[in-house]
């Protein structure tokens, strides 16, 4: 049987980062095909290429044996590919029926949109899917599960033969997952090709016939699900060269700096407890969406929490106040440098001194000499490569921007440093430097919490690893216990069987 869709040797880079390199796999009609891999393995890039959002740099996509080149999402749609994103993409102000029909509404003879026919078509689709939704209600206010069903109806209405689903079950409850699966199974039995992306192995084994495993942007294997055990799949997902590790110096831990006790926020995370000592680096690992950043944002006071407490050096911290957190000696280096960490248009020195502008000011004014001296001291210490301190931060490379963010917070002499994805989008050389820096800061008695999606970084840097899964602590591992497998098992909710 010839495949409906073939991905042939595609590669895609964003700047210096190769997201996907030489990946090939076929998709067959009447088959559900799983695509699995760690965070950053390149799954989403593949999805976006199939959706027509990204164009492959090299390689081709083949639909029904013919090469296709999508200039945009409209082309992919026309080729019979429908993509259902993790976050549904509906128009909240329009009715459910309009959402389904958008782009090919039924028309009357005068080219008006035929609302009656449109609602009837939507109702027919819902009957076929076995769900009860009112086609004439606005999409606003639908639950995620219902929004996904609308997306599926949308795919059906455009006669899509290839359905790509990017982690559709991430936000669904058990019952909703079952309903989604029965819909997907019946589509598959009617001859549609399904590409299913999920982090949950029980779903992969329950739904899919074939699985493609990706690692670091590369294709590992495509096999029948029946031929692989869950252990095999995990091993192939993580089985990576471990030589590029960044060992942290061993430091005898000091006093407890941060104590988080049963922190909960409805619908986001619950019952999170952990502590960090001076000189320790504690990593928060887990899959994207497990609630890692959310927990640290709540600890820092950017977000609120419903119950539990945060203590710094034994003193309880006022919730929901970043100002109080900073006064107590906390510093947060956020995940998104551009959006949250730096003011790109301001000069380097201004950025470095921003959090303590008040302290540096004399007579209520900032004096540039003071500012400059301070900025000079920190950028020197972090070996930031820059032209002049008065240049805009936006002109620096990613790694050096990250150092400026670090300088900014280190100049406040924090007792606890929270870093969220400290080396995302940074080249390998600078990465090692950032790691060396964090290690030496810990050696100086700083307590560090690091949120990271990169397993080697977690394993190399952390004294202890806290694995989060779906908003809960799935495991707390010591340095000796933490391996690629044990962290992945915990993150995916599997028992260690080996």
């Amino acid at each position: 049987m010839a495949p409906v869709l073939e991905v042939v040797d595609v590669s895609k880079s964003f700047g210096a980062v190769a997201a996907v390199q030489g990946v090939s796999f076929p998709l067959f009609a009447g088959e559900a095909h799983a695509l699995v891999g760690e965070n950053g393995a390149g799954k989403s890039t593949i999805v976006k290429m199939l959706a027509g959002v990204h164009r492959p740099d090299t390689g081709t996509l083949r639909v029904n044996g013919a090469d296709v080149d999508f200039a945009g999402p409209a082309d992919a749609k026309a080729a019979g590919i429908a993509v259902i994103y993790q976050e549904p993409t509906l128009f909240p102000d329009l009715t459910v029926a309009e959402n389904i029909a958008m782009g090919n509404q039924p028309l009357t003879r005068l080219h008006r949109v035929d609302r009656k026919a449109m609602n009837a078509a939507a109702a027919r689709l819902f009957t076929r899917l076995g769900v009860h939704l009112d086609p004439s209600r606005p999409a606003r206010g639908l639950s995620i599960a219902d929004q996904q069903l609308v997306e599926i109806a949308k795919a059906l209405s455009s006669e899509a033969r290839i359905l790509v689903m990017d982690e559709p079950t991430a936000a669904l409850s058990g019952v909703e997952v079952e309903r989604l699966f029965s819909v997907v199974r019946s589509l598959r039995d009617e001859g549609a090709a399904i590409m299913f992306i999920s982090h949950r192995f029980e779903e992969v084994t329950a739904l899919c016939e074939r699985v493609t495993i990706m690692r670091d942007g590369r294709h590992v294997c495509t096999e029948l699900v029946a031929d692989l055990t869950v252990d095999d799949m995990i091993r192939r997902m993580v089985g990576r060269d471990l030589s590029a590790l960044f060992p942290k110096q061993d430091v005898p831990p000091g006093d407890v700096v941060l104590e988080v006790d049963r922190l909960s926020r409805e619908g986001v995370f619950s019952d999170i407890s952990f502590s960090v000592r001076a000189g320790e680096i504690v990593a928060l690992a887990g899959l994207v969406g497990a609630g890692r950043s959310e927990v640290m944002q709540a600890v820092f006071g950017v977000d609120k929490y419903d119950s539990g407490s945060v203590r710094i050096l034994g003193k309880r911290l006022k919730p929901g106040s970043p100002r109080a957190a900073m006064a107590a000696g906390m510093a947060l280096v956020p995940e998104d440098r551009r959006q949250q960490g730096l003011v790109m248009e301001l000069s380097i020195e201004r950025n470095v001194t921003l959090p303590r502008a008040r302290k540096l000011a004399r007579l209520g004014l900032l004096w540039s000499a003071t500012e400059r001296a301070e900025a000079h001291r920190w950028t020197q210490r972090l070996q930031t490569k820059l032209g002049r301190l008065t240049d805009a931060v936006g002109t620096l490379s990613g790694g050096n921007q990250q150092k400026v963010v670090l300088a900014k917070w280190l100049s406040t002499a924090p007792k606890l440093l929270i870093v969220d994805e400290p080396t995302r989008g940074i080249d390998v050389g600078t990465k090692a430097e950032v790691h060396r820096l964090m290690s030496s800061l810990a050696a100086d008695g700083l307590a560090v919490v690091m949120v990271s999606s990169e397993l080697p970084e977690v394993l190399g840097m952390a004294d202890r690893v806290l694995v989060l899964r779906e908003g809960r602590v799935a495991a707390e591992l010591t340095r000796a216990e933490a391996t690629e497998e044990s962290v992945m098992y915990a993150a995916m909710g599997q028992q260690v069987s080996a």
């Binding site: 945009g72 999402p73 909240p92 009860h132 606005p138 936000a171």
Partner: protein, 335 residues
Amino acid sequence: MSAMASPAPGVKTIFKARELGIVLALAALVAYTAIGNPRFLSGQSVRDILLNTAILAVMAAGQAVVVITRNIDLSVGSVLGLSAFAVATMMSANPGLPMIVALLAGIAVGAVCGLLNGVLIRYGRVPALVVTLGTLYIYRGVTYSWAGGSQVNADELPPHFLTFANDSLLGIPWLVLIAIVVVGGVSFLMRDFRVGRELYAMGSSPQAAELAGIRVARNLLGAFLLSGSLAGLAGVLFAARFGTVDAAAGTGYELNVVAAVVVGGVAVFGGSGTVWGAGLGALLLTVIGSALAVLDINQFWQQAIVGALIVLAIGADRLVAVRIARSLRRRDARG
């Protein structure tokens, strides 16, 4: 099935209630004023109100389309000025030209201005607020440097041009007819045609619109082209109605137009509201102005009242949004 027990009907009635609210406010205002001074409902007074509404409503129809796509066009007042001056100059130089040529010339001037706005926004990737704030000054500056302090007076314009404002068909002034056709036509386009629904979709979720394969660039250019063209048309109507045109014609109109659209129930964040609601908004603002004069209330209050209406309209939007967000959160927490 959780979807059936959702708060959808409430949401729907609130959306419907938007235009209803304006109608009710309008009725109450007219009734109250008429009781205070019955002459408010005399033929001449009603005629004046409708004539004054017409120009505002034509521009509001175009602006509503732009706002529905989650953009804004601040240049409409300047486009009106440029079109009015261009057409008045043309008519005074060629008194023999028929009215339809004047109308088409005004529309063409506006179309060029609107298209330029659209191109800068889409291909320059600059927010509409910034682009049209810039072109507001540019178009006005062009008009000023062209006029060079001169003005076109009523006695220089051909009589058929000037009487157009007062002539009527079946007792309805041409100006009002044009406004009704424009508001009705654009409402129809937005409600019942594919392109209209796509414009709503773009405002409702720009990201999803791109992913859905909607021709976003074409539609956006179209929206600004329409807004510009209607402002150009309004310029011709302005020149015909007032006769005397200088380079300052229509200064500050953009704010009235935006106010009419917002008061008329078009959501400032796009995606919802109707064009005829914006037309009603224009009518309401004009009636308020006349009513205050009739009731002998200080004109200064007019601005404060318009301001209060805008805040009220936006407040209602936020209230709806917050309620929906809250009910969603509760549901997610349950699920």
